[in-house]
Symmetry: C2
Subunit: 308 residues, 2 copies
């Protein structure tokens, strides 16, 4: 039984108020796999890369227990490339360049060895690709989590709604939740989105934390107040990887355990933003992760016993 | 021993996406007193009003145990008036009208009966007025909390810094913390502001919650996700009233107890925004307050025991 992660493996060029990199490893599946591999070693990666993607990056993930059998390599193609510039608040960014390259013809074919998928993380991709992956699985996973973005709401809303009806957990940010639901209040937005299919909704609010909704239940996890957010690229994918990694480790898909998963994801994301790209994730130790989770406990822990 | 609240008692005219009122009771001391009076009945109010301020509003507060001896009535004067319009996100607003009226010559003289002040809440006012109040007290209160706003940073920074050196707790919002410190990171801003005097700093982030900093300690309280924020006016003052009311009730000025105070203040603020003006606060029951505090516990409570 394993965790399957579907998403991009790519190059990014980034500008933040703290620096600039011209070409660094990125992609939703890259961040998610690095993050999740701290919690489970049975990860099956699904992605597509060009001949330009470094072999040592593939090897490094493979050493963490991530199977690369489902990563299609287009030898004479170029990997997906994204370039963006962050504003001072780090919550808003301008896309400077998007080169789809090999991603334009991404039509993943799952290897047989991937059929044991118990937990499925669908990174932000065309809804049609997400649907195709689900449909290829002979046995429905215990939990399907999907990420998406406003772009697909603009250009592929019908397909997006279709895949939403097939998954358990949807992850979007606050403005996407508002766009998708047509409601400004996130409480109302969450209710409407759950009616579209997913029983669980995670709304990511960047530096303002994340909310988990299911029915009448709601849970809030703050983001850790940081001295410096160096580069927010991949923070959402790292969060997703930590969340699903924790679920895969515990094999517990209850609301209570998802709450813990969100804290784990938040802790991972708080590390991700400390350096450019996935660099900080690659060097993380278990002790560091535990210490960061303890910081979250301290951050929100209060005593109401003195209130009579 | 008592809690002294210093601030405005006023009229507001408000426009929100949900409605409009031309003239409603407002003012920082009004909201703070209504809020705090749920937790302590020894409140000494310090404010100034015109002959136009309704006697029944004064009587209603007096019935809650709030002494009006320190409220100066200028019979032929008009009460402070503020008019504003909220944007859809309810976090930003435009001031349409500010008529200082009697507030222009506010020079509070504390009655002798106010000298037993143990806890002092200085609402947002000219720093010179805040300093004058502190200086009139023969015995320093156990805890002095002050609120302020960006306006005083623009026009009276030196006096603001002086009063900051005399208080224990400063309350500001996130943009004010950034302006005051010149730091974008709230962690860095908090460190700098503490160097200016206050040992404790509370940064209010509206719908995104509140942070409490002291030295290396940090605590985060979320705002309750609400279906509707009807009118955010007075939410910050209601928060302050709940915070200091809880401190006065427990007579415990530790960081741990301030955390609980912030939850109590957040619960009160979440009720305040449900109706125009202080109307919701006036009808609140103890059971309702306890139920809302329980919601906060549920909202942030998670289990890490399953993480090995």
């Amino acid at each position: 039984m394993s965790l399957m992660i579907v998403g991009t493996m790519a190059f990014d060029a980034l500008e933040t108020p703290f620096g600039k990199v011209d070409r660094i490893i990125g992609g939703s599946a890259t961040y998610a796999a690095w993050s999740a591999s701290n919690f489970t070693q049975k990860i099956k990666q699904v992605s597509i890369i060009g001949g330009d993607f470094p072999q040592d990056e593939m090897d490094a993930l493979a050493e963490r227990g991530v199977s690369m059998e489902g990563v299609e390599v287009v030898k004479d193609g170029k990997s997906f490339f994204w370039s963006g510039r962050y504003h001072m608040d780090m919550n808003t960014r301008d896309t400077l360049v998007t080169e789809l390259n090999v991603l334009e013809h991404f039509n993943p074919q799952l290897p047989d060895s991937y059929q044991d998928c118990e937990f499925l993380m669908l990174g932000n991709l065309a809804p049609a690709v997400q649907i195709s992956v689900i449909n290829q699985l002979k046995k429905r996973p215990k939990l399907i989590v999907m990420d998406t973005m406003n772009f697909w709401m603009d250009v592929a809303l019908d397909e997006l709604k279709k895949v939403m009806g097939m998954v358990d957990v949807l992850m979007v940010n606050d403005s996407e939740a508002r766009q998708l639901s047509g409601e400004f209040s996130l409480v109302k937005a969450a209710a409407k989105i759950q009616q579209m299919g997913p029983k669980y909704l995670i709304i990511k609010k960047g530096e303002h934390g994340a909310l988990l909704f299911s029915g009448k239940q709601v849970f809030f996890a703050p983001a850790l107040p940081l001295e410096e957010v160096f580069d927010p690229t991949g923070a959402g994918d790292t969060f997703a990887g930590g969340f699903i990694g924790h679920i895969a480790r515990t094999k517990d898909v209850s609301f209570e355990n998802m709450k813990t998963g969100i804290i784990v994801g938040s802790a991972m994301a708080s590390y991700c933003v400390e350096k450019f790209g996935p660099n900080r994730l690659k060097e993380l130790t278990t002790d560091e992760i535990d210490a960061r989770i303890d910081e979250f406990v301290e951050l929100v822990n209060f005593d109401i016993s003195i209130i009579s």
